[in-house]
Amino acid sequence: MIAFFQDPTVQIAFWGLVKIVVILFVMLGIVAYLTFFERKIAGHIQSRPGPNLVGPWGLFQPFADILKLFLKEEFIPARANKILFHIAPILAVTPALTSFAVVPIGPNFIVTDVNVGLLVFLAMSSLGVYALALAGWSSNNKYALLGGLRSAAQMISYELALGLSTIGVILLAGSLSLVDIVHAQSGTLPFGPLALPRWFVFTQPVAFVIFLICAFAETNRAPFDLPEGESELVGGFHTEYSSMKWAMFFLGEYMNMLTISSITVTLFLGGWNGPWLPESLQFLWFFGKLFALIFLFMWVRWTFPRLRYDQLMAFGWKVLLPIALLNVLATGAAVYWVGNR
């Protein structure tokens, strides 16, 4: 028995499991309060108080919401494909949590460092399409089917620019490992009399903007929330879902937002790098940047109107894609020029 636990593979598996479970519960807590802050921020942007009755300042609202969802009656449309209908919510949550395994949170909290970490994230986000498409198809409902199909087309269109915008960062860092990418962003960059942190947002501003826009589109959030545009598609792909199954799509959306924001922080905002804090507390920088970014997500959602579908597709294919390609070539030329100066 003891020999079994001393096996290095088992050790890695065990500590991996412990860290993943910790991440899962921390994420659940964060998501619960993100829903609360989303409603609070929406309230303040629209000059109303937001939830304020359950507990002091409405702080217990998430628990009331979860309990309500947990106890809601659930129904399955009569002509739905039952098996796929149950599988879709699983697929909505799984990719987000799985890709969190490669996100370096702090110098002392890295679940795993693989040298194709960025590809793991891209692979998982490319699997995210299935949850929406299957939910839409299996419900056997017009709105759900339209929503699922639209969202699938939207996600694959923006995935291209998302993937291409990361190439510039890889060119600068010379690695696909997310830990290496964070290390490549430590130190400072001389900028006239100032010293900027060596974050890739300063050396790859175009890629950063493209990545951020695609992040909004990949998480199906406003102004790209056409898959669930209430005014035309009722609830979109999750129209027929209720109770905990609906909650899983909701959880998946917020987890996706957390994951893609974490990747943005890792790729462009220096990850855990930041001044003043000792190494053991540098993960606070990571969380600080993460929450600032998530605030941006919410701010955008409650500020911008929804795009029209043709505008959405045209923007992805005719604006973001060529700019991302040009950025790749320009960055390549710049890296070559700097290296041979």
């Binding site: 991996g16 409902n141 759900a144 995935e159 579908y309 890296v335």
Partner: protein, 117 residues
């Protein structure tokens, strides 16, 4: 390859968590089903026709183009990580590769294949 083990574990934990939550919820929630409750939602009126209709060929075209550009993007990753060793040759190769595909992209624009009328 043990570095990939935690990713597999994360996958299993995620699936396990969702299954447990969904099963636990379905054990406690009321389920009083009837034909009207289970009919597809259509804004309150009776459902008209089947849901599974045929869609514009556009969606199919977008998926095909996505595959092609995705393969292009995949070629960029090994290029980007080994770019420093490849030097000028690597840059020229990639410019050539992207320019050839850009011709195809211009053809797409010309043929209005990316328009959603």
């Amino acid at each position: 390859m043990t570095a990939y083990l935690p990713i597999l574990i994360a996958l299993l934990v995620a699936v396990g968590f969702v299954v447990v939550v969904m099963v636990a919820s379905s054990l406690v929630v009321p389920m009083r089903r009837n034909a009207i409750k289970n009919s597809p939602y259509e804004c309150g009126i009776e459902p008209v026709g089947g849901a599974r209709q045929r869609f514009p060929v556009k969606f199919y075209l977008v998926a095909v183009l996505f595959i092609l550009f995705d393969i292009e993007a995949v070629f960029l990753y090994p290029w980007a990580v080994s770019f420093r060793q490849l030097g000028l040759v690597g840059l020229i190769e990639m410019v050539l590769f992207i320019v050839i595909l850009f011709v195809g992209y211009l053809y797409l624009l010309k043929k209005r294949a990316l328009e959603w009328e």
